[in-house]
């Protein structure tokens, strides 16, 4: 692990953007964890404070109800990150398990599961997510995460399967079989460490995909919202016409910027991981 961190550090030092991405992600994770401790909404909203431009008290101005936009961004980090990470985690776990097991076991199981995977791979994810979300109407993070990962796992499963397939005939897996290790042991202890890098990068990009779809759902009001959420902030700011005056546009641009910054951070950080795991790129 330490060697991994060391090479990650080296890669990040070579790629400033990736380093910045890592720092930003860490920052947002901290905000998601500790945000509710440091940021609070004004319990008695007041229109008298509405749409104040940026100031020392309100670095990003205030929204339609005089709430500090920065505080809302901070409080909105948790639900966004929660759902994004949860969805990516589900995507990756399902994708990896299915990919490894089918790739390793092969045979009828493989062909059956891969036909199913192909179907999910073909179904366009976003429309399906919208359809399910509109039918289910839940704001539970776990349910949303499940909906968001409904098709995303398929691509990963296929990629992991092809890797597992190439590992299957390797000597070290033969050695594991010789030792009589059970399937789950082989999959978890032998196969998983080898697809780890690919999975890690996929995980980061799945987070961005999940956040994209999640915010979109809230933005269009397809999923019901509770509490402060970036998508909801944009939704409210848009319906309040916040874009159209200089004083109020921060309440719209700030959550938009937060989403963009987080997305870009994930993509850039994924690049550093890619460099670490792909020596071919490192040498370039």
């Amino acid at each position: 692990m330490s060697s991994f961190l060391r090479s990650l550090w080296t890669a990040a030092r070579r790629d400033k953007a990736a380093m910045l991405g890592g720092v930003i992600i860490t920052m947002f994770i901290m905000l998601a964890v500790f945000g509710p401790l440091i940021a609070h909404l004004n319990p008695t909203p007041s229109g008298a404070n509405a749409y104040r431009g940026p100031s020392i008290r309100d670095p990003l101005g205030t929204d339609a109800l005089g709430q500090n936009v920065l505080a809302e961004i901070v409080l909105g980090t948790r639900p966004v990150m929660e759902i994004g990470l949860l969805a990516a985690l589900l995507t990756v776990s399902v994708g990896v398990v299915i990919g490894l097991v089918t790739g390793y076991v092969g045979g009828v199981l493989d062909s059956v599961v891969m036909r199913i995977t192909d179907v999910f791979l073909t179904i366009p994810g976003l429309p399906l997510i919208i359809v399910i979300a509109s039918l289910v109407q839940s704001s539970n993070p776990l349910v949303l995460a499940l909906i968001l990962s409904v098709t995303a796992w398929a691509g990963l499963a296929r990629a992991v399967r092809s890797q597992a397939l190439s590992l299957r005939s390797s000597d070290f897996l033969e050695a594991a079989r010789l030792q009589g290790l059970p399937l789950h042991d082989v999959v978890i202890r032998q196969l998983l460490p080898n697809v780890g890098p690919y999975v890690a990068i996929h995980f980061l990009l799945d987070v961005t995909g999940a956040i994209y779809a999640e915010v979109g759902l809230f933005l269009l009001g397809i999923a019901p919202v509770s509490g402060t959420n970036w998508g909801e902030m944009i939704n409210v700011a848009m319906s309040q016409g916040a874009l159209f005056t200089t004083r109020s546009m921060y309440s719209l641009l700030a959550p938009m910027a937060a989403i963009v910054i987080l997305q870009v951070a994930f993509v850039f950080f994924a690049r550093a991981l890619d460099v670490v795991f792909n020596p071919r790129l490192q040498s370039q």
Partner: protein, 646 residues
Amino acid sequence: MPRPGLWTSIRSGTTPPRLAAATSHVRTRNTLRLGRRHAVAVVAAILLAGGALTGTSAYAASRRSHGHAAHATTFTFGRQGSLLTRSFNPYNPNWVNFLSNTAMMQLAFQRPFDLLGYYPELASSITISGSMATGRHITVTLQRDQWTNGKPLTSADVFDSFLIEGAGGGNTIWIDLKNVTTPNAHEIVFTLLPGILADQVMPSIDTIIPVPASQYAHLLPASLKAELLADYRIYRKSPTNASSSTVGKAVAAVDKAVVAFSPARLISDGPYELHAINTSEILMSKWRGFWDASAFTIPTLKFTVLGSNNAVYPAMLSGAFDETLVGMPKLIVGQAEHTPHLTLFKNGDGTTVKGLFFNLRQYPFNMRGVRQAIAELINRQALVNDVWGQFRSGAGGAQVIKYPSPISPTIQAAYLTSTQVDRLNPYNYDPTAARKTLEGLGFKDSSGGWVMPNGKPFDVTIMAPSGWSGPDLASTYLGTLFNGIGIHAQVVEPQYEQFYSDLTGGNFDMIYFWTSCCEITNPLSELTLPLSDYNYSSPSEPGLGIGPVTTIPGIGRVNVSNAITREAAAVPIATKRFDKLVYDWVRWFNSALPVYDIGFQTAFSVYDTSRFTDWPPKGSPIFETQTQGSQGQEILAMQEGYIHAR
């Protein structure tokens, strides 16, 4: 000078000389300013490239750069809506509403606060004869007019339309009707039942939009009139028996056929005819066969229909529309007020009362004390100020209803005496009293927030439809407020359809929405919205959860939903019985508080004066007329000699 109300004198001549002079004057002025405009445009473009994000100033700049030097020939309406599914049949749910009062005209425009007053339209006159004791006769005489297929407008067209209205149940006049006849091609006579006031049925007659018999007659059996009269005879005794009767079913079958009818092309009779339509635009050109075609000086109308309000706002602010009618949040109203070329008018159609509804079947809101306590926890004045704002525009604005009830303040003032009003509870903002009330009911304020008498934390969910700027903001406001007090609140904003089904299904704690709309004459009609539409439309849809059978002091034990619907339809206005009913309902509402009215607000029409000028003055009765389409007032104004291209 055009004088609203002196209808015939204005329309008899051709274009007033004043207009021609004004137009040419404007044209010269524009030419003179052209050079300067170009210079400004260049500077503006440079400024914009640098500081494109500065919204307010950007509008002013873009405004100038998009000024129209040429004489404007197209009047553009900005609207929110959808033209994805559309029908040219006014009785189809997908009827293109923008064709009402542009291509399809109603018989007359109802004058505001004057039940017998009207601006004649397809009807040249409406006269009342006979006595109330034996039943009044209302005679509608039609204009000499032509459909776009060349056929003349006759009483047969109106008669058929009237049958359709009756079959669809949309027109309440049939309840009060004894007969309807067409003595000749230009006249149609409505005979009312004895004891029915003409005042009450006039709005129903005025707003009928005739459809061409050439398209609709084949859908209507010859026996329909007799069936309708029989059906409504049964209905007067029992609404439920009516729908299950043989005639009731026959009538419903006709309605089904009419609703499903989807004509391939529109045969219309209005000042404009449909020229082209797609999913976002409607183009209309002047129809020369319209009886008053000469009154209309603008050759083309255009509707730009955008998917969401927030697409309409910037376009409106930057001068893309000549007239805009959308729900506007405070910020946009303020922005529009500060935009030089825009003028805000109160729109008579848009008076709404906003309120917080409770689900009376949901613990702990089934306790009246809880509802009353929450009323005192909300500073309604502050909420109205913060959410709806107080606007400078004289005619409009939001204000707090002093004595909460689902009836708008103007109507409260008109129908209740001051002694009656004084007996109502104002529910002033008083958190201390609210606390006491809650504690008296067994609620406890612990460190982790309020705990209900049953030992569970006091959690509430406030539901509002997503994308509606007012309810959106107000529910967020209330959620924050409750959380601050220690009542854990969650704001859920589902899509409107989901919201509505949850509302009628009684699947909610609290809802922020409005209680009435568009009804400015009959207070009991306003009550039908919360009491029958939002409440017990069927056993599976308990809605607000009032009843179904409840004892109302002064009225007795009634099925709330049925009683209010029947009374609104059948009890004549301006009778003692009517006034007493209004008071009893309002008093009960006020004390039981199934709904807290928080404020009311009017909708605004926004006029752009950069291409078209000479709008009717603020406060003109034109803006209070009842019309079938949101553009009726503008059409009326044009017809009255207002609104001209610069």
